[in-house]
Subunit: 520 residues, 2 copies
């Protein structure tokens, strides 16, 4: 029913259940040369984790049981521990130590939209906060609300494909559907969503919408918010249904107010999305550029003038070097991955190759692309492997206009390196492109020291300050959560913060929805 | 300084100043066969139009003069009459009769963002409503607020290209820039916006944003809301600046709250847009389909699987027939226009032609396309020509998912015909396409009778009810204004209406911004 602890009681404090991320010995050696690795403390198994008892009034529990059934109001400590946080490295570090910061008093599992509405009514009346819980993969503290009692509303039972319109190429999916199951259901109709973020194996449709997710194939399929044509949202004030046409001039686009609202304005219960035919052909290949700037010029040209690959990512020199460790490749420069999906990709592959070569790219062939595709979901597991090896690894990301990308890349790198003076590796890549700009994604690997979370918080704050100083956005696809709240408020300004507060007051008068997340 | 009355004092009650819309004699004959034409009443020249005197307190006028300078607070009746309404046919009919419903007390012309803020402060303090005025081309009653005194804030002096970023391909344009001037300024840098609505000659950048405009080349360049990367908005509570990256997961997309807000949440003072290189090649051509359904299948295939023309429009049988009147073409069926703009369009033209032919299209050659391009801005002028000929012509539009397009087309047609039982022509076309659906645009020509506005109101209400009943949206690109308010409220639902009211209360506590428009 949830992502954690299925493999073993010690495995709950990890990204996933699979053991498919093994750090090559050569990588461990390299890390040991650069960083001071510390033997990791032992992982506290889940049954030994102490969670304070449920403090909800019996009347509230009974009311919730009346809505969803007694079997779907869970108060066992282990279940509540698994719903207490997301999957940032600080979350995982705490979990490994058996420190559950603020567990929900109960995990409530409604079966549909009307039960969600009824749960919100009970919680509004009782003043109990509600945290909508999908895949539990937040890496920005989006699942741990401000102080006060809360329940997690686990949407796992909202797991149906509600409707497919093959003529309009739309599908309505319930919010709790995990991405792989959504893909399987759509494939039965010959369609794909094309949304493949790194959290793919665990994340849910509702979570994608609530956090403005963006997937590895965004160059071809767009961001998740591009795909959404309609939403149903349960709020304490009632139901909101938005989006009844592909486009409209009927007022503000209210879909865009709930997309990215991170559970603070309502619980998204279903999402209508644009789908596309399953691609008949796929092709992945690698290219090498002498420098990040050379690669950026090529990537920008494809993003602005086409032809657009479906997947387009460019690693900087450090990420390319670390990625090459263990694979035998060590020709330096910067690795570019281009992926193509469609009915017939040959002519696009060839036309894009002419652009990539014209900008100094050297083709590395299909194996380099397939290697990336085989390992496309590995990075989050590698955080676990690195923690096991005595290192600390975490990621952060932003987006900016093309003219600012080089400066943002350098300033964020240096801000993190300056904040971790005893050594860190900062890996960077561009993996989402637009006509006017791109995302920048950073992986930081450092020694944990005695206070890994405190060290990370300082480095992350320095990186966030650098992002803000360059005029970039505080998140391209991770979201705001609790971790980015302060920078977010500065980014949108005081009037816009008040505007969001006014919307929240209107839809959530008792202030029960994910308090402390997103809106300061 | 404004769009009306430049040619002659009688010409103010017309779409534009040019006389480039002449109804062919054959068309007049055809109309006389179908409709009962009435000799039009004489047009009351502007100097004979009676406008009640300005009733603003001297203190308020002085305060406004203090902000923008005495030369830019205009109280002459003729100026106020020209700012009293938009350009719907009911507006033009009233103007022709010399009936100015509710003129602004004054026309205020600020020179920049800070002056707009100061004007809002004066008006908030005095309880005087503010109607932001760009090109004055609203066809949905968006410029005539609810009862009470108001001033028009004419943005004509905010007419600069503020910045161009050629690397990121973005440009910042002030809100009062007319589209042709914006195009000229961008062309100096080698760029185009690609936004060419029928109101192109008069409409402004700020108006495009405030109403979610969509242009004739939307298949290639997207809607105006797709182009916007950032906005600056002056509100009574202060300045809001939104959009600092091509995409973001930092909370709701607040740009999308101000786009389509129609002057009710703030005054948009500048807009940062994505621009593209001026196309080196353009190519327009026509195709003929046996039926609207055949043509729809072809258009849908191009919209969903490509290649996408830049312009794609399909007229139904009636529009094709009326359009052919006078041109000598009379081969029946449905006319499709495909336009291509880009660095090199040949391969796209050829690939699209294969799709168009595979769906039963018969090529009509370039002349049919060029004929459309030559007359692309004529339709609004033809409303004037039809009024002169003793007929009444007006348009309405919607958007829906592909699977519903045939039903929406038929139901709206029949609703209008039923509401005008003594005869009407209803012309339809698709001119904006998306992967999941399209717009439908209708032109209604009928005899005016003794109460043309009342007759139109009944027909329009019937059409709007039909649109709502099919689940389509009440507007694809005209906006809500005052005319669509009731249907808009039903479309978004009671909770969403309260949400918008809450946003308005927060940003506009005195309720001065375009009261009665958009939000009921």
């Amino acid at each position: 029913m949830d992502v954690r602890g299925e493999a073993s009681s010690a495995g709950w404090a990890r990204w996933g259940t699979a053991g498919n991320a093994v750090l090559p010995e050569s990588a461990t050696k390299l890390l040991a040369q650069v960083l001071e690795l510390a033997p990791p403390p032992p992982v506290v198994p889940l049954p030994e984790v102490t969670v304070p008892g449920c403090e909800l009034d019996t009347a509230v529990l009974d009311a919730l049981r009346g809505v969803v059934g007694a079997d779907h109001v869970l108060t066992a400590g282990t279940v509540r521990a698994r719903h207490a946080s997301g999957m940032s490295t600080p979350d995982l570090v705490r979990d490994r130590q058996g420190r559950v910061l603020r567990a929900p008093e109960a995990v409530v599992r409604p079966a549909g939209h009307s039960e969600v509405l009824a749960v919100l009514a009970v919680c509004s009346g009782a003043g109990v906060a509600v945290v909508p819980f999908g895949g539990g993969t937040s890496v920005v503290g989006g699942l741990t609300p401000a102080a006060g009692r809360h329940v997690a509303v686990d949407l796992g039972r909202l797991d149906r494909l509600v409707a497919v319109d093959p003529v309009s190429r739309t599908a309505t999916l319930q919010a709790g559907l995990r991405a792989p199951e959504a893909a399987r259901l759509l494939a039965e109709h010959g369609f794909t969503l094309g949304h493949v973020p790194q959290s793919y194996e665990y994340a849910t449709i509702g979570g994608f919408a609530a956090t403005r997710s963006s997937g590895q194939a965004s160059a071809g399929y767009g961001r998740f918010d591009d795909m959404v044509t309609g939403l149903t949202v349960a709020t304490p004030r009632g139901t909101v249904r938005v989006g009844r046409a592909p486009a409209s001039a009927a007022g503000p686009d209210l879909r865009q107010l709930f997309l990215g609202s991170e559970g603070t304005l309502g619980v998204i219960t279903d999402v209508t999305v644009r789908v596309r035919p399953l691609p008949a052909a796929t092709h992945y290949e690698g290219w090498r550029y002498e420098s990040f700037d050379d690669g950026l010029a090529a990537v920008r040209r494809l993003a602005q003038d086409g032809p657009r690959p479906t997947v387009l990512r460019l690693s900087d020199e450090v990420e390319t070097m670390i990625g090459a460790t263990g694979s035998g490749r060590s020709d330096g420069g910067c690795l570019l991955i281009a992926g193509y999906e469609g009915a017939d990709v040959r002519s696009t592959v060839e036309a894009a190759a002419r652009v990539l070569a014209a900008h100094g790219g050297v083709p590395l062939g299909e194996e380099a692309g397939q290697h990336w595709a085989r390992h496309r979901f590995d990075a989050p597991y590698l955080r676990d492997a690195l923690l096991d090896a005595g290192a600390f690894a975490e990621t952060l990301e932003t987006a900016a206009y093309w003219s600012r990308i080089p400066e943002v890349h350098q300033r964020v790198r240096h801000a993190v390196l300056d904040a971790l003076p005893d050594g860190a590796l900062v890996l960077g890549h561009v993996s989402h492109v637009y006509e006017t700009g791109a995302s920048l994604y950073f992986t930081v690997i450092c020694s944990p020291g005695t206070d890994p979370i405190g060290r990370w918080r300082a480095a992350k704050a320095a990186a966030s300050d650098a992002i803000a100083a360059t005029g970039a956005t505080i998140s391209h696809h991770h979201g705001v959560g609790a971790d980015h709240r302060a920078w977010y408020a500065t980014e949108i300004g005081a009037v816009a913060v008040d505007l969001l507060r006014a919307v929240k007051r209107e839809l959530d008068p008792a202030g029960i929805l994910n308090p402390g997340i997103l809106v300061p």
